[in-house]
Symmetry: C2
Subunit: 102 residues, 2 copies
């Protein structure tokens, strides 16, 4: 299969039973997810950059959480307006956004 | 932060709006997730092996899908009874389970 060069995971507090409770969901996790989806599409990166929503990572007090693999970089206290910078610097530029890194 | 050595992602078709529809959810995605959680706990690997449920990866016809990072290994048509083998061979043994790899 065509594997992603980068895979962005955004916590949306999506519980496996279909419920949705928790911190990241109430703190713009879904908006962050949607902003990443739009940026990936607008930049034509859909074939190489994947985006997924997830359940809780257990770091609620540091959320909203965004994780990028294969780098294993964890970002905390992300807001929707940070998405463009993460895309520019990290996803396209391969530089970790240090100010958001956990 | 303490980062995972391996991070297992299991599709449970968890949509960011809280709905839960799709293939993997109806095909034992939640049972697979729960089996991984039990195996990680029983083996005392909770500090180094993380497990998360996700939304759809867009590979429904090949599901249920399990992804392991940072290796970027994708498994398809996983059944709950495959979890022990993935834990033994891949998570603890660092050998990809070729028969399930996409």
């Amino acid at each position: 299969m065509l594997k992603p060069k980068k895979h962005i995971f955004v916590c949306t507090s999506s519980r496996p039973n279909g419920q949705q409770k928790g911190f990241c969901h109430t703190k713009a996790g879904v908006d962050i997810l949607n902003n990443f989806r739009e940026e990936i599409e607008e930049r034509g990166l859909g074939g190489e950059v994947f985006i997924s929503n997830t359940g809780c990572f257990g770091l609620c007090e540091q959320g909203p959480i965004v994780v990028v693999y294969p780098e294993n970089v964890w970002y905390g206290a992300v807001v929707p307006d940070d998405v463009e910078e993460i895309m520019d610097e990290h996803i396209e530029g391969d530089n970790v956004v240090k100010r958001l890194e956990l």
